[in-house]
């Protein structure tokens, strides 16, 4: 049956019968790839334009509807040799890139103003010690005002808006003192200029904005980069579903385009695309991604199945139900709500600093003014000194101290395969003193592997693996990955639910259940030999018959990583939804003494709450749908990229690849980053200890302010860069 591909979800209609689509493309690595894809597509009839964005690894295509369609274009890209999947642009994505552009514009304006005002200021400073006349100095000050006031009004918007929002919500963030400082400095400078005074602080105010905007922009750019990458990954891995239309025709649609009430066909070996009820068919499903259980669950008409589980043996017809309509998902959602609300409102280092900073600085400025008044100075002089205190305490260093480290650390994490969902995760990761692991798919690989310790001869394994290429069964798919020759045997026939057979070297070979291979009596014996946690697949050829055990295996570096984490002084616990018989050997191998098996989502949460109430800060690492509430309840959480969608959404960070090492690196880099953040705050405080007395004594000139401001900002930025200089955290 020819199956049509419906991609209307991703296609944006253009004008005059044209359409536009964005695709995430895998494997674009050089100039040649760009040329091959662009030339290959523009040669197609109907394609108006194809443009690869190499930075984002995305492809934008425009075409005329009457000559070609989205499915043909994707097929053409596959034919050229690249894997492409349509990309559904998210609102958050568009918002963020608009914000990045806006910040860049503000940065450009602030940069322009800072350079030109500084040009005038340096002349004034030089003139003040030589022969500049009063009139020339006033002219230069007025020119500075002309540049600085509109520039600050434009480039200061990110800070003014954020400060206003914070004040309306009745709390104080770092942007409040920044906004007050900038406004006062500009106001004072205009007044000073009007009374022909020697000093004006236009340059300080504008330079402050410029430095802060650099920090803001870098921060946003880092977040955008990780989000782009995660978005591409999600598109490439997105599931497609076979939807049965009213006239029983099959249409292939993206899983995101399914609605409650749709009927979908799930063939053997495919992933279930949405939650639903089985209306036809008998099969077994692998729910390890949902519950952590590694034994297959038999299903028949009427059974409820969950998105993310894998259909093992027979084809199923499923009616899609609304998200959250099934009991398990409902329970998970309910627990999630509670966990997210209860998540302790951790106060971040930056906010704590801001909360301390604003009142201390404003009190100091007020006391300075009062002090000078009492000492007999005039009102004007007292206020000038007080404002100098506000300017010199320079939120610069403090406001840069933490974001700079976050940017550098997020970059280091990204390079070691960890994608952060938010900047605050770094601090919380560093605070963790206990790690709770899920077993299935987290400590073990997401897919089972052929047990290499069974001692099967390589040539027999190769034959079995090649024969497995002709099967749709998930266990056979695992075996098939070992085949060195990727061509299936000619004439291989799959008997659904039984196995495959083919004629190899003139003799019949069979791969499948023991009874299919004529070895019914040996099935129990094989299970006894390989343990109850293994699934067995039998291969018979000529007179030889072997049972190939396939089981969940640990991630290749799990033992070493667990050991290294323990050495760092972290307590380790394993909480699994799987059977005790399957959990015990894993715990044993890793040397984790504290483990529990057969836990339901609510029990996992209860355990985590208990640990939290004992004063532990828990890092939860898990991938199943059943882990999602626990991930949200924990102090901080990490998921592998293979995790269920809902679970990924509630994790603070995701890690890529088959190795567990990114978890260790995430902990190591975050601890290093937190140390640097504290150092930076200390540097900012030390700077103020020296600078504030000078300002209170009334000795600060605009020149001193400019030098101090750039100096302290440079110092904290350079210190933050040290997070990048320590790549070898982990052996």
């Amino acid at each position: 049956m020819a199956e049509t591909l419906d991609l209307s979800l991703f296609v944006e209609p253009g004008d005059a019968g044209a359409s536009h689509m964005t695709l995430a493309v895998e494997g674009v690595s050089c100039a040649g790839c760009i040329r091959k894809i662009e030339n290959g597509l523009t040669k197609l009839p109907g394609v108006i334009d194809a443009r690869v964005n190499f930075t984002q690894r995305r492809l934008a295509v425009d075409w005329r509807n009457d000559e070609t369609d989205a499915a043909k274009i994707i097929a053409a890209i596959e034919a050229i040799g690249y894997h492409a999947r349509p990309f559904a642009p998210e609102r958050a994505d568009a918002d963020e890139s608009a914000q990045a552009k806006w910040l860049l514009k503000c940065l450009a304006v602030a940069g322009f103003a800072a350079m030109n005002v500084m040009l005038l200021s340096v002349s004034v400073w030089a003139g003040n010690v030589s022969d500049m006349t009063q009139e020339t100095r006033d002219l230069f000050h007025w020119l500075s005002a002309l540049i600085a006031l509109p520039a600050a009004a434009y480039a200061g918007q990110p800070f003014f808006q954020s400060a206003f929002r914070a004040l309306r919500a009745r709390h104080v963030n770092m942007d409040v003192p920044i906004s007050i400082g900038v406004s006062l400095a500009l106001g004072l400078s205009v007044y000073e200029t009007a009374i022909h005074a020697t000093h004006a602080y236009f340059d300080s105010a504008i330079m402050l904005l410029f430095f802060l905007l650099v920090g803001r922009y870098l921060d946003l750019a880092m977040r955008r980069k990780t989000r782009l990458f995660a978005g591409n990954l999600a598109s490439i891995k997105a599931d497609f579903a076979h939807r049965l239309d009213a006239n029983a025709e099959l249409v292939q649609v993206p899983a995101a385009a399914l609605y409650p009430g749709d009927r979908v066909l799930v063939r053997a070996g495919e992933r279930v695309p949405a939650d639903g009820t089985v209306i036809n068919g008998v099969s077994e499903i692998d729910e390890s991604l949902v519950t952590g259980e590694t034994l297959y669950r038999p299903v028949r008409a009427g059974a409820t199945i969950y998105a993310g589980s894998i259909n093992v043996s027979g084809a199923l017809t499923v009616r899609v139900t609304a998200v959250g309509a099934s009991t398990l998902v409902e329970e998970v959602e309910r627990l999630l709500d509670k966990a997210t609300q209860a998540r302790s409102q951790t106060v971040q280092l930056a906010d704590r600093a801001a909360r301390l900073y604003a009142p201390v600085v404003h009190t100091a400025a007020a006391l300075t003014a009062i002090g000078w008044l009492i000492a007999g100075a005039g009102i004007h002089d007292s206020i000038v000194v007080a404002i100098a205190v506000l300017i010199i305490t320079c939120p610069c260093a403090i406001a840069l101290a933490i974001p700079a480290v976050q940017v550098v650390a997020a970059g280091a994490l990204f390079r070691s395969g960890v994608i952060l969902n938010g900047g605050s995760a770094i601090e919380r990761l560093a605070e963790a003193d206990m790690i709770v692991f899920d077993k299935t798919g987290t400590l073990t690989l997401p897919e089972p592997q052929v047990d290499s310790s069974a001692g099967i001869a390589p040539e027999i394994l190769e034959k079995a693996a090649r024969l497995a290429l002709s099967s749709h069964h998930p266990l056979a798919a695992v075996l098939a990955r070992l085949a060195r020759l990727r061509s299936p045997y000619a004439g291989a026939i799959e008997e659904p639910g039984e196995g495959v057979r083919a004629v190899i070297d003139g003799k019949e070979a069979r791969l499948g259940s023991a009874s299919f291979c004529g070895l019914a009596a040996e099935e129990n014996a094989a299970h006894a030999a390989h343990g109850s946690d293994a699934s067995c697949i039998t291969f018979a050829h000529d007179a030889t018959a072997v049972t190939i055990p396939i089981r969940q295996t640990l991630r290749p570096d799990a033992v070493a990583v667990v050991e290294a984490l323990r050495k760092r002084g972290l307590a380790l616990i394993m909480l699994s939804g799987d059977r005790p018989a399957a959990v015990a050997p894993v715990a044993n191998e890793l040397g984790i003494a504290n483990w529990q098996a057969g836990l339901k989502p609510a029990e996992k949460i209860a355990r985590i709450e208990e640990l939290k109430s004992q004063g532990h800060r828990v890092l939860m690492v898990g991938d199943g749908l059943n882990d999602a509430p626990a991930l949200a309840a924990a102090h901080v959480s990490i998921s592998p990229i293979t995790a269920a969608h809902l679970t990924q959404a509630h994790a603070d960070a995701l890690f890529l690849g088959d190795q567990l090492k990114p978890v260790l690196q995430a902990v190591a880099i975050s601890q290093c980053a937190r140390r640097l953040m504290k150092e930076n705050l200390a540097l900012a405080v030390i700077y103020n200890v020296f600078a504030v007395p000078l300002a209170i004594a009334g000795l600060v000139t605009p020149l001193i302010a400019a030098v101090a401001m750039s100096g302290s900002s440079l110092l904290v930025t350079l210190n933050a860069l040290r997070a990048r200089l320590r790549p070898g955290v982990v052996p």
């Binding site: 100039a31 760009i34 190499f54 552009k101």
Partner: protein
């Protein structure tokens, strides 16, 4: 010092020109694909015999 009357506006105009040029380049999407621009200068239409794409 009268020279300042036209030198200072001149300096400002130069700075403004730079700012406008930057804003224009930002608006026309020249920063959308920075890595792409770097690799796009490399291809090789003058060397059809050697397929660099197959590296």
């Amino acid at each position: 010092m009268n020279v300042l009357i036209y030198l200072v506006p001149l300096a400002l105009m130069l700075g403004l020109t730079g700012l406008v040029a930057f804003l224009w380049s930002l608006k026309s999407g020249q920063y959308d694909d920075l890595d792409g621009a770097a690799v796009r200068i490399l291809p090789d239409d003058d060397m059809p015999s050697r397929d660099i794409a197959s590296r």
